[in-house]
C-alpha cells in the first residue's frame, strides 16, 4: 500500500470478526483527506461495521474482535487510534458519525445540539447558540425548527431528525465524518441539500460515506470502494 500525503485514515492489515464470522480480512487501505470516500457493496458485508472501526464504536456494541492497526492523521502525523495517548472520547469528538436510523437523544432540539459541546467542556451560552444556529443552517433545518428549539427532538419528522443528527455531528467541527446511509430517510429535496452540504464539508474534513445509491455515489464521491468477500476493492 502506498502512502499519500493527503491521506486521513489508514488501515494496516485490518481484520474484524464477530465470533467465528470474519467480516473484514487483512484490509490495508488509505482514505484521502478533503474528499468523500464512498463504500458500497451488498447488505451484510460489514460496511457499517467498517465505519464503527474508525471511531471504535464497535467496542460499545460488543462481541467483535479486531486485529491490525487503524491510523488517523492528526496535526500532520499519523496516530494509532488505539494508542493510550488517544482516549476514545477524544477520538470520537474528532470523528463525527451519523447513523442510518436517526437517533436524536431524548431531549430538546437545542439540548441535542449543545450536548457535544457540553461534553467538550464548552458552556458559553452565546457560543453554543451561535454554533447551533450555524449547524442548523448548514443542514437546511434552521427555518423549520427555529421557533421550537425547546421542543423534544423526537417529535421531528424522520428527515428532520436525520438532519438534526448531522447538525449535531458538525457541532465540534470533526476532522472525519462517518456517514452510514445518511440520506436513506430523506426526501429528494433534503437529500440534494445534504449532498451539497457534504461537498462543502469535504473542504474541511474527510468524509467516509456508506451508500447503496449508485447515482448519489457518482455525483459526490471522490473515491469509491466496494466491500465484498471481506475485502475492500477500489473502484474509482
Amino acid at each position: 500500500m502506498t502512502t499519500t500525503m493527503n491521506g486521513k485514515i489508514r488501515t494496516e492489515k485490518l481484520s474484524f470478526s464477530y465470533g467465528e464470522r470474519l467480516l473484514l480480512g487483512d484490509i490495508s487501505v488509505e482514505f484521502a483527506d478533503q474528499a468523500i470516500t464512498a463504500i458500497t457493496g451488498p447488505s451484510g458485508t460489514g460496511k457499517s461495521t467498517l465505519l464503527t472501526v474508525f471511531n471504535r464504536l464497535w467496542e460499545e456494541i460488543g462481541g467483535g474482535a479486531l486485529r491490525g492497526r487503524v491510523l488517523l492523521r492528526l496535526e500532520g502525523r499519523w496516530q494509532d487510534i488505539h494508542a493510550a495517548e488517544m482516549p476514545v472520547s477524544m477520538l470520537r469528538r474528532r470523528v463525527g458519525m451519523v447513523f442510518q436510523t436517526p437517533n436524536p437523544l431524548p431531549m430538546s432540539i437545542s439540548a441535542n445540539l449543545a450536548f457535544p459541546l457540553k461534553l467538550a467542556g464548552i458552556e458559553d451560552k452565546q457560543e453554543i447558540a451561535a454554533r447551533s444556529r450555524e449547524a442548523l443552517l448548514r443542514v437546511h433545518l434552521l427555518t423549520e425548527v427555529e421557533d421550537r428549539l425547546g421542543s423534544d427532538a423526537r417529535l421531528l419528522s424522520g428527515g428532520q431528525q436525520q438532519r438534526l443528527c448531522l447538525a449535531r455531528a458538525l457541532m465540534l467541527h470533526p476532522e472525519v465524518l462517518l456517514l452510514d446511509e445518511p440520506t436513506s430517510s430523506l426526501d429528494p429535496k433534503a437529500c440534494t441539500g445534504i449532498e451539497e452540504l457534504l461537498l462543502e464539508l469535504k473542504e474541511s474534513c474527510a468524509i467516509v460515506l456508506v451508500s447503496h445509491y449508485q447515482d448519489q455515489i457518482s455525483r459526490i464521491a471522490d473515491q469509491v470502494y466496494l466491500l465484498g468477500e471481506r475485502t475492500l476493492l477500489r473502484q474509482r
Partner: protein, 285 residues
C-alpha cells in the same frame, strides 16, 4: 379475542380481589382496635407515650423511631445503591459487572435475621466503642444495617431502569464522545428516573416494614428518640414485642392501632413520592 377478554376479566377480578384484601386488612385492624379507639384515647394514642402500667398506650415514640430509621436508611442507601448500579451498568470493568450483580442478588436473598445477627457481633461492639457509653444498640446501628439490607432491592430496580434505556440513545451518546460518567449523568440517569423513583419507594416500604433489624439493633426503648445515637423502638418491633400480651388487654389492642398507623403511613409516603417524583407512566394513579 374471547380468550383475551377472559384473560382480561380474570386479571380485573384478581385486581379487585387484591384491592379488597388490602381494604379488608384495614377494616380488620379497625375492628380489633375499636375498643381502644372508642374509649376516646385516639389523640393520646397517636401523640402520647407508652406507659401501659399507667393505662397510657401512646405510640408516638415508636412512630418517630420508625420514621427516623426508615428515612435515614433510605437516604444512606440511595448513594450506595446508585453507586453500585452505576458500577454494574457502566463504570466497572465489563468482566466485574456480572459477579457484582450476582453478589447483589445473593444479598437480597439473605434472611434479615442473618444481617441482624452479624451486626450484633460485628457492628454493635464497634458502635459501643465509638460512642463511648451505652450498649451500642442505637438507631444509628440499626440504620446502617437497614441501609445495607434495603440496598439490593433498590439496586435491582436502578440497574433495571438504567439497562432499559434504548441502545440507540446509548450509541448516539458514545459516538459523540461521551465518557461513561457523562453518559450516566446526562443520559442514563434522566431516562432511568422513573425506575429509580420506584426503587426508592420500594426501599422505603421495605425499611418501614422491616421488623427484625429494629428489634435486634435499635435497643427497643419505648421512649422518644432525641438523636440517632439514642435507642428506639419501631412500630413493627413494638408489635412484635407486645403481641405476646393478653388478647383481651388494651395493651394488645393497641398494636392494631400501630398496624393502622403503619398502614396509613406507608400509603401516605408512597402517595407523596408518587406525586412528587417521576414515576413510570404505568405506575401513575
Amino acid at each position: 379475542m374471547s380468550r383475551l377478554s377472559a384473560a382480561e376479566r380474570a386479571l380485573q377480578l384478581t385486581t379487585v380481589c387484591c384491592g379488597l384484601l388490602v381494604a379488608a386488612m384495614l377494616v380488620l385492624m379497625l375492628v380489633l382496635a375499636w375498643p381502644l379507639l372508642h374509649s376516646g384515647q385516639l389523640l393520646s394514642l397517636i401523640g402520647g407515650d407508652w406507659q401501659p402500667a399507667a393505662g397510657r398506650y401512646g405510640i408516638a415514640p415508636m412512630l418517630a423511631a420508625s420514621l427516623l430509621l426508615a428515612i435515614s436508611a433510605v437516604l444512606l442507601a440511595i448513594p450506595l445503591s446508585l453507586g453500585t448500579a452505576f458500577a454494574a451498568v457502566a463504570l466497572a470493568p465489563p468482566f466485574l459487572r456480572s459477579p457484582l450483580m450476582l453478589c447483589v442478588r445473593l444479598m437480597a436473598g439473605i434472611p434479615t435475621v442473618i444481617y441482624g445477627f452479624a451486626a450484633v457481633f460485628a457492628l454493635v461492639p464497634l458502635m459501643r466503642q465509638w460512642i463511648g457509653s451505652g450498649s451500642g444498640f442505637t438507631l444509628l446501628t440499626a440504620t446502617l444495617v437497614l441501609a445495607v439490607l434495603i440496598a439490593p432491592t433498590m439496586i435491582v430496580f436502578f440497574v433495571g431502569g438504567l439497562r432499559a434505556v434504548p441502545q440507540g440513545y446509548s450509541l448516539a451518546a458514545d459516538a459523540l464522545g461521551c465518557r461513561p460518567v457523562d453518559k450516566l449523568l446526562y443520559l442514563l440517569l434522566p431516562q432511568a428516573a422513573p425506575a429509580i423513583t420506584a426503587g426508592i419507594v420500594m426501599g422505603l416500604g421495605r425499611a418501614l416494614g422491616d421488623t427484625m433489624i429494629g428489634l435486634m439493633l435499635a435497643g427497643n426503648s419505648a421512649i422518644m428518640p432525641d438523636s440517632m445515637l439514642s435507642t428506639g423502638r419501631t412500630l413493627t418491633s413494638h408489635i412484635a414485642l407486645v403481641i405476646a400480651a393478653d388478647f383481651s388487654s388494651m395493651e394488645f389492642k393497641s398494636i392494631f392501632a400501630c398496624g393502622i398507623v403503619l398502614y396509613l403511613l406507608t400509603a401516605a409516603l408512597v402517595a407523596i413520592l408518587r406525586r412528587t417524583l417521576p414515576l413510570p407512566a404505568t405506575a401513575r394513579p
